[in-house]
């Protein structure tokens, strides 16, 4: 009895929707900077092509491998393409691919996790063993194999990652739903005769999703790193593409005489990944009352 009450207090509908997005009194300066950078990256993904000073694909061999200057802020690559413009364009490619992967993986994971949590013992056992198999391989290796099967290209990399990334979410959602399932207010709703689908969609899932969206924020960086990694080794976006990983792959051969072509796309990946990590970490601490006291 006592634990059930404690559970409701801790994870139940304790945090009203309003407060979740209210200005955070406890956000440190680092968290704010991270939030600003993450927001900036999303903005660039939306309007970047409008800001780009040059055509990201126009080849100009006379301008090849120019160091950063007033005209080319980030320099030019071996084909004379403006790296600043390419980095701006790349934000859309990388973030869009990442968002698609996370959205699809979350959807599959939520369905599978909910079925496992509410569908009885056999369904639970079967679905979780399938998840075990998915989790038994490093995502990049499975994605490499699948992307190879589908033929190199960004689309294959995205599909492959969608297929490999969901078991983690399924595990998480299963745990969350099981926790909520036994909470008193769900019990109460069931006693009142609420139908099972309504119970799941109106009462169980919404209260499980707080933790899930924190996880998706944290996963932005992980997914983005795998996508750029796949592009780097040649199974994702192909070389002339203005995708950050592919840009690095194309420039790696000129590392010693054109470092800027490698450095700036990499910095873009790193800034995005780190800022989303920080934001996710901050959300996690904010969302979890048991952690709040630990970090000051």
């Amino acid at each position: 009895m006592k634990t059930a009450v404690a559970d409701t207090v801790e994870r139940g509908p304790a945090v009203p929707r309003r407060r979740r997005f209210a200005p955070a009194g406890r956000a440190s300066i680092v968290d704010r900077v991270a939030l600003a950078i993450a927001g900036l990256m999303v903005l660039i993904a939306l309007v970047g092509p409008l800001l780009a000073p040059h055509d990201p694909y126009s080849v100009n061999l006379g301008q090849a491998l120019h160091a950063p200057s007033a005209d080319h802020w980030f320099g030019t690559d071996a084909n004379g393409r403006d790296i600043f413009s390419r980095v701006l364009y790349g934000a859309r490619v990388s973030l869009l691919a990442t968002v698609i992967v996370i959205a699809v993986a979350t959807l599959i994971g939520t369905i599978v996790g909910t079925l496992a949590a509410l569908g009885g013992r056999v369904a639970d056992e079967v679905l979780m063993r399938i998840c075990d198999i998915g989790l038994s391989l490093p995502a990049i290796i499975l994605a490499l194999g699948l992307a190879a099967a589908l033929g190199p290209g960004l689309r294959s990399a995205v599909i492959a990652l969608c297929l490999t990334w969901w078991p983690g979410y399924a595990r998480l959602v299963r745990t969350l739903v099981r926790d909520v399932r036994d909470a008193e207010y769900v019990e109460a709703a069931r006693t009142l005769g609420v139908s099972t689908p309504r119970l799941v969609f109106r009462h169980v899932l919404p209260n499980s999703l707080d933790t899930l969206y924190v996880q998706t924020t944290l996963d932005v960086s992980a997914v983005m790193l795998v996508i750029s990694g796949l592009s780097f080794v040649g199974v994702g976006a192909q070389v002339p593409s203005a995708e950050w990983g592919a840009m690095i792959a194309g420039a790696a051969g000129n590392l010693t005489n054109g470092w800027w072509a490698v450095v700036f796309p990499g910095l873009a990946i790193m800034l995005t990944a780190v800022s989303f990590n920080l934001v996710g970490d901050w959300l996690r601490v904010r969302n979890d009352p048991t952690l709040r006291g630990r970090r000051s």
Binding site: A148, A149, M270
Partner: protein
Amino acid sequence: MARFLLRRLVTSVVVLFGLGVVTFLMSQVLPGDPARAAAGRNATAEQVAAVSARLGLDKPVWEQFPAYLGNLLHGDLGTSVFTQRPVLSDIGDALPSSLELVLAAMLINVAIAVPLGVYAAYRRGRAADVAARLIVLFGAGVPVFWLGLMLQLVFADRLGALPLTGQLGFGREVPSITGMTSVDALLSGDPAAFSDAVSHLVLPAVTLAAAFVAVVARTVRSSMISVLDSDYITLARATGASEWRVVIRHGLRNALVPVSTILGMQLGWMLGSTVLVESVFGRRGIGAYAVNAVLQNDLYAVIGTVLVIGVVFVLANIVVDVVQLWLNPRLRQPGGSRASAAPAAEPVEPGVVEGAAT
């Protein structure tokens, strides 16, 4: 204890079977005709058909699958189109070099992450803790291959302190005993070659370790925090034990139980990440082999690599279970079920585990 191990072994077998299913499905959808590949480029249509019949590729899928599993159990992973050698012996040649890299990276990982995590937990909330959090989150956000290139740029190209690529200096050779260059140099009693091999190993190992330090440091920190808050630590302090003894002997040893789980899983992930590191540093290994295989559309070689890395991952997890039995006395008691094992795994942060997949 026996039940605990048995359950884990059964799970492992299920996972391995699943791996067989997944790779079989891959072989069904991968482009390219395996029979034509096996028969050689200049084979006639009849020869291809004969090979297809010999390999059982003309049979329906449900008859092919048991044969496929049977071949796997015999260690037959097919023949590489590119090298024209059995995939298993190709991988056998490449694996030691990757293991050398992974073990070196693991050493760096533990040497940095454990002290960092312990210190952050001990000084929690202070400047050192905040700094550790930043290091950790940055480490988790750096693209591995890019970090490798940056280290090459700074330490090899600009400073000239370490070699740019390869495994040994030009013209130097060591006899192949274990396949791990540095170990071979040591075994053949060639200290100059050993230091050469190690200097070639430093940058790739640091690159590979960087992404994993973050997860371990975080796990050590959160696990240490929950341990340091426990009653037996208070008791240890009350007996007048020195602070060092309290934190390291009583605290760290217990905090390492969840950490060992993470390290075991990381072994598999690191092997996966060699895909991104080996090609940057021009090293031989299973990662470079996998990338080449994918780019050359080498069906069986790709599948073979996926399988071998999966098997290594499962084996590493079994080893971790045994280590946990040794570290966690609660599991050793007769009748110790998974329920009693559960609290040990608790401090692992679910959020950060995923991040290491790259």
